[in-house]
């Protein structure tokens, strides 16, 4: 069986973040290295948040997708060598987040201070007259906001 690293990346696009089913692990940026090894694949990944409870599920889904493609020898290592930051979310990933109703995180260049959290852009109406209601949300990676323009609550994927 012959495949390249780029095939692996393509196949891994099938694996979605269990908490955000429109976002693939590749677009989320948690896959930090892929190596073709003897008779298989070695994958290095890193969690968005250290306490992310979805990590084990992600690992088992990676295994499932690659096994389905006939790969037998699969190793998955969790590493903090290249820690996840919200800038690792791809452009395509940010578009998917917004469509899903989650404000994408601002780039870290803007995010020098947590003050920027106060002015998340509403994913529904693009309004900037918003306020942060809680730096913590329904999952570790989300905060809760309110848009004064369309008068709806929304969540943002936290910048990190």
């Amino acid at each position: 069986m012959i495949y390249t690293k780029s095939d692996i990346y393509t196949w891994l696009e099938e694996v979605k973040d269990p908490e955000i089913p429109v976002l693939s692990l590749v677009d989320l940026g948690v896959i930090t290295n892929i190596q073709l090894i003897n008779n298989g694949v070695s994958i290095e990944m890193t969690p968005t948040f250290v306490g992310c409870p979805a990590l084990d599920m992600m690992k088992s889904e990676i295994r499932e997708v690659l096994t389905k493609r006939g790969i037998k020898n699969i190793t998955i290592n969790v590493s903090f060598r290249e820690p996840w930051t919200s800038d690792r979310i791809s452009k395509r990933g940010k578009v998917a987040l917004k469509k899903f109703g989650l404000a994408p995180p601002p780039s870290r260049e803007v995010f020098v201070d947590l003050e920027v959290l106060e002015h998340a852009i509403c994913p529904r109406c693009d309004g900037s007259d918003t306020e942060m209601k809680n730096a913590f949300g329904p999952t570790l990676c989300r905060s809760i906001h309110y848009c004064n323009f369309c008068r709806e609550a929304f969540e943002q994927f936290k910048p990190l």
């Binding site: 948040f49 250290v50 306490g51 409870p53 903090f80 947590l114 809680n134 913590f136 570790l140």
Partner: protein, 251 residues
Amino acid sequence: MNELALKELLYKIADDLLILGHRNSEWTGFGPLLEEDIAFSSMAQDKIGQSNALYSILNTLGEREPDTIAFTRNANQFHNCQLVELPNGEYDFSLVRHFLYDTAEVIRFEMLSESSNQPVAELSRKIRAELRYHTLHANTWMKQLGSATEESISRLQKSLDYALPYALGMFEESPYEKEMIASGIFGGEQALKERWMKKVEEIINQTSLTLPDWKLIAPVMGGRTGNHTEHLQPLLEEMSEVFRIDPSAEW
């Protein structure tokens, strides 16, 4: 010797995170408002996850599995400071403790980001970034409630006076302090304490609260060597109740 020093350091940091994480989780369903319920629950999840990552490093150094470390030890085998094991009390005490502890923790992980031990340095860079949300939360509420009404100010002041001796116990030195500093594993408790005091002063000075003279506070030590209050053992029993029913169960 360096490995003993490293293990001692990792155990105390991870135990602090696990125990305070458990205390934070006791606010789930009881927060004074929904946002605070979510905030304390979320911080609980962060802290317990961070303790798990540190126990995993200990596991690579020859210690037992993270779940075994977390759920099968008795109180006298825990190295957390006494501050984190105290009952939640009312919201004012939980907030003050959260502020005093997380202010120290963010500095501790900043210092550990420069550690000569690579896995510790890598993990610390990650945890440091996450903790910014915890200190943002603590500082916001300390500033708001610390200058709001007579009741909020007097409640916070009372909790602050009660918590400070325990908070100073966070910086109880390790028997390997010198080796640890010399080998570049960690810059040491004394350096951490000095930076922490400056940061605590900076925030408290923006409120109507007052800090007593640091020199007049007698630190409550002992937690790092397994001496705990009567509150830790019942916490551990509750935390490990399900695990102990069948320690070999696959989850």
